[in-house]
Symmetry: C2
Subunit: 406 residues, 2 copies
């Protein structure tokens, strides 16, 4: 009998009416002859509300205690869904993180899953129960409650799917799949039937926020097919799968954009060993996430160093960087928040050198100046002026043959 | 070093400001050189809100799942208090029911504590932590979350105090102790310095609602001194202790009243074996709690049977009883909701036969008719017409020498 893991996010369980719709959907899947494990997030807004409450209690709430507090959100929705399923006549049972044996490290607020025992989970499934697991939470070996960080329920779902060897992990969300570009920006964007784990890894971090990035890594490692689909309709969404499954082989699978980054440049940095560490250690110690880093070579033992950080951290980053610049003898620090990053992503480009030139030429034709370039094996990203974002996405989408047919 | 268990109820932790006051109080106790374990209830209203939510999810919510849902209330307050204490510079840690090893049976919603491991609790106390335990909750041997029923945090507190061999269990509440009568009814009522477990057992069930009745049984069994005191001031409250502690030996310790009962009488019931079972089995199966039962002897093999039930269950009880009356051939069923029960309680009356006659004479002098009489070893209760309740309490209070000095 097929074993399906279904994960529903915060907007899908935002109130009793929506939880009731989830119950219908879960029941239908079960009635179709599947074993079903459900992973739930907290009602949308609840986690933020609890964080706010904790910050009223203390300026910097203790992390262990904050996790114990936050875990109540998923405990609530899991219990409520189990209550509904039982009242509909189904055998159902909720399990909290520790009851589902989701063992994590002790990095409160951002814990990593070490293993999932799932003994009880399997036992319940063998006895035809629908099991409802509170997502986002686990426990460390000492029995402390931990949480997995923002969007952690996706990771819970994929990890549990891996532990029980599920046939598919369905992620229900408020979009109906992964698109070739943001449809709000690019009207010709179309839904992908399939996408590879690697493409998702490169898409997710760039702004096509349908899946927590860590969950994709998990899915790839254990080769769990992930089905991203809408909780509001019955349509097929997008399957995230391994590359060698028979799938459409596009050169480029999608164009993504990200307006949430700011750019910082150090001018004329002495080009010597250890200098990068001098710059980025204090930034990382301040908890600021650096995304792209570019180092240009200059003449005369000096180099320019440019990097991007979230816009919200821009001011702090500038302060830190200016201090560092003095220490290391850099000439100047420049900053810019009016930028955006556009990227093209696709496993097809692995063995194809032409993608970069198509991208650069396409942008050039529109007189869009490229401020920074970064690449990974299956992604090319350009930082441009923010005002050109939408135009850039649309022309790249057309250039790589992604436009939906009229 | 003295080990103090402090329990704070829902009104004491109703919001962040009040939790902050609790934190101050706990810190003060710790600073005075005590080891401190804190037991918390959920914020007032939260448990009821969750029950309401569950009833929106299903008409009859599954009991296991309801307990998992309700347990979030105490988890929230425990984490918030620990967050505050830590931010104030104290070593503090919250523990949930299963983390504090509160093992119960599987009677969801009304579970009984079987044992408390308390290994981790003791470990933390040995290392000078203030431990904040979520009250009201435990877990069964299969690892399911259970709750202890209304007011269960009192029982949590006393049971944990027993498990760690605490010197005292302080119950903080919105009254400042146990009074000889309800001060709202009897202006001359005064606060008792001490009261015995047995007296509390007889008081609590009769309406002086300061402690969950089960917690008193626990305290008695393990001989835990319980200090009932106000969370709003620093005054000494009332110590609930064993009889043989040197204490004021009053004939009667208090006068209580209860207006929440209704009376049902079956007239001319055939007086034969098994008849009481015929009457009370269907009532108990309907989940209705019968309090006092009186059976009068009549002539001719017929008897009258009178009993009291909560007013809220009166209508249902009448329906059930009328059906039963037909089956067993009773003549008539009478019902009355305009009644009240007044009781005098005191260990002193154990070896003193005069209490009953003083009570009856006192009521007679005011022309208060006694409708039913019931007694326990240390209590005499009379059911009277409701309108005389306040008068009865005051004259009995005076008659037994309980009035505060002017």
């Amino acid at each position: 009998m097929p074993l399906v893991v279904q994960k529903f996010g915060g907007t899908s369980v935002a109130n009793i009416e929506r939880i009731s719709r989830v119950a219908q959907r879960v029941a239908k899947t079960y009635d179709q002859g599947n074993d079903v494990i459900v992973i739930l997030s907290a009602m949308s807004g609840v986690t933020d509300g609890l964080i706010e409450l904790a910050h009223k209690a203390a300026e910097e709430p203790d992390k262990r205690e904050l996790d114990a507090l936050l875990a109540t959100g998923e405990q609530t929705t899991a219990a409520l869904l189990a209550i509904m399923l039982k009242s509909m006549g189904y055998q159902a049972q909720s399990l909290l993180g520790h009851q589902a044996e989701v063992v994590t490290d002790s990095d409160y607020g951002n814990a990593r899953i070490l293993e999932i025992g799932a003994k009880r989970l399997k036992h319940l499934i063998d006895r035809k129960n629908i099991v409802v697991v509170a997502g986002f939470q686990g426990y460390d070996i000492k029995g402390n409650i931990t949480t997995l960080g923002r969007g952690g329920s996706d990771t819970s779902a994929v990890a549990i799917a891996a532990a029980v060897n599920a046939d598919v992990c369905e992620i229900f969300t408020d979009v109906d799949g992964v698109y070739t570009a943001d449809p709000n920006v690019c009207p010709k964007a179309r839904k992908l039937k399939t996408i590879t784990y690697d493409e998702m890894l490169n898409m997710a971090s760039l702004g096509a926020k349908v899946l927590q990035i860590r969950s994709v890594g998990f899915a790839k490692k254990y080769n769990i097919p992930v089905h991203v689909r809408s909780s509001f309709n019955e349509e097929e969404g997008t399957m995230v799968v391994n590359e060698d499954s028979g799938m459409e082989q596009l050169l480029v699978s999608g164009v993504t954009h990200d307006k949430k980054q700011a750019r910082v440049t150090l001018i004329k940095v002495p080009d010597q060993p250890g200098i990068a560490a001098n710059i980025f250690s204090p930034i990382s110690e301040a908890g600021i996430l650096v995304d792209m880093i570019i180092q240009n070579t200059r003449k005369g033992g000096k180099t320019d160093m440019t990097f991007t950080v979230p816009k919200g951290d821009f001011k702090r980053t500038m302060e830190i960087t200016k201090k560092v610049a003095l220490q290391i003898g850099a000439e100047e620090v420049l900053g810019d928040t009016d930028i955006a990053m556009v990227s093209v992503v696709g496993v097809g480009m692995k063995n194809h050198s032409g993608v970069a030139s198509v991208m650069f030429n396409t942008l050039a034709r529109e007189n869009i100046n490229i401020l920074m370039i970064g690449t990974s094996e299956i992604r090319i990203s350009c930082v441009i002026e923010e005002k050109y974002t939408e135009l850039a996405v649309r022309v790249l989408h057309t250039a790589f043959g992604l436009d939906a047919e009229e």
